[in-house]
């Protein structure tokens, strides 16, 4: 969710996210059907919940009881995290000055992550001067 919303009863961002998940799921289903026409195995693999991680344990496909209000939506990493973030000096990027950023100040070094980017990649796996961090929205 990114802990954002709008203060309305159903936060806008959540509806946006849920809608996006539905759209991406439909696209993936189409891809799976198309693959299945050529190659049944490939289609089945594409449709697997594990996505890019077919051999990793997944509690949802292993049959663990799911908590209330849990909705299976997309395969793993269908929204792809940033696993190898690159950082530059402020002069090398051209974000609008009113862009919101998540600012992190650890071990004497500051890093800024723009919300306008995080809102569609959602996860940045980082190492902040020796501290393994994860920035999420």
């Amino acid at each position: 969710m990114g802990l954002i919303g709008s203060g309305r009863r159903v936060p806008l961002s959540m509806r946006t996210r849920a809608t996006r998940y539905v759209v991406i799921t439909l696209l993936m289903a189409l891809v799976a059907v198309a693959c299945a026409a050529d190659d049944t195995d490939t289609g089945a693999r594409t449709a697997q919940r594990g996505g890019l991680f077919p051999d990793l344990y997944d509690p949802t496909s292993a049959g663990e009881p799911l908590p209330d209000d849990y909705r299976e939506s997309l395969p793993r990493d269908a929204i792809n995290p940033v696993y190898d973030p690159v950082f530059v000096k402020p002069g090398e990027i051209d974000w609008p000055l009113d862009e919101l950023v998540i600012g992190v100040d650890l071990n004497g070094e500051q890093r800024a992550y723009p919300v306008g980017f995080l809102s569609f990649r959602e996860i940045v796996i980082d190492d902040h001067r020796g501290i393994p961090t994860m920035v999420t929205w």
Binding site: L3, I4, G5, S6, G7, P11, L12, A18, Y21, G51, F53, L56, Y57, D58, P59, T60, E64, L66, P67, D69, Y70, R71, E72, S73, L74, R76, A78, I79, P81, V82, F87, V88, P90, E92, I93, W95, P96, E99, V101, I102, G103, V104, D105, E109, A112, Y113, P114, V115, G116, F117, S119, R121, E122, I123, I125, I131, P132, T133, M134, T136
Partner: protein
């Protein structure tokens, strides 16, 4: 939100589970495949169920304000898209153990700072007087609980006259720096969903 992706001292890589729990994001870890909830930082399914990641201090501000405050900052090499909200719509939440307190940023800005005891920890949440940014500090300094006040754009301990920088917590009078406590920005409705027992202050 920013979490320390480490369990028992071992770094762990996380991915996007792609599911929604209470309308919120879920992760999986590459080691065990356990499923985690973003707003709580806790594993809700799988072998690590019940484990919680440490929330790290972070702040939300405009790019201009952040650069002015930290000219040497690094920036994630990324493009951006427009968003449709501002900091004043959000709440600042501090979580210590099972206890939490949140205050609307607009109210924090108006009153300057908020002293609270959260999970037994004396905490000060303060709005930066110059820019739309906030910080949260422990009021315990060297084991002594201070009655920190926001005066003339600085944090002041009336008992000792020690002064600290609002944004950094650095002492201006040779005292120890203030320790940050973990806090995050959220929309009020999301905060209520995930911290139903937490106290949401302000209008």
């Amino acid at each position: 939100m920013v979490h320390r992706r480490e369990i028992d001292g071992q770094p762990i890589v996380f991915g996007n589970q792609g599911d929604l729990w209470m309308n919120a994001m879920t992760w999986f870890d590459h080691d065990t495949g356990s499923v985690w909830s973003q707003p709580t930082g806790e594993a809700i399914l799988g072998p690590l169920k019940g484990t919680t990641l440490e929330l790290l201090p972070s702040t939300l501000s405009t790019w201009q304000d952040w650069q002015e405050r930290f000219p040497d900052t690094l920036a994630l090499d990324a493009f951006t898209r427009r968003h449709e909200f501002s900091i004043s719509q959000m709440v600042v939440a501090v979580v210590v153990g099972d206890d939490s307190v949140a205050i609307r940023f607009a109210d924090l800005r108006e009153q300057g700072s908020l002293s609270a005891s959260i999970g037994g920890e004396p905490v000060l949440i303060v709005a930066d007087p110059e820019v739309d940014r906030w910080a949260a500090y422990s009021r315990l300094v060297d084991g002594v609980e201070l009655d920190l006040q926001l005066l003339n754009g600085e944090l002041v301990d009336p008992a000792s006259d020690d002064r600290w920088d609002v944004a950094l917590g650095a002492s201006k009078t040779g005292a120890l720096p203030l320790d940050r406590v973990s806090a995050f920005s959220s929309f009020g409705s999301d905060y209520r969903n995930f911290y139903p027992d937490g106290e949401l202050l302000g209008s």
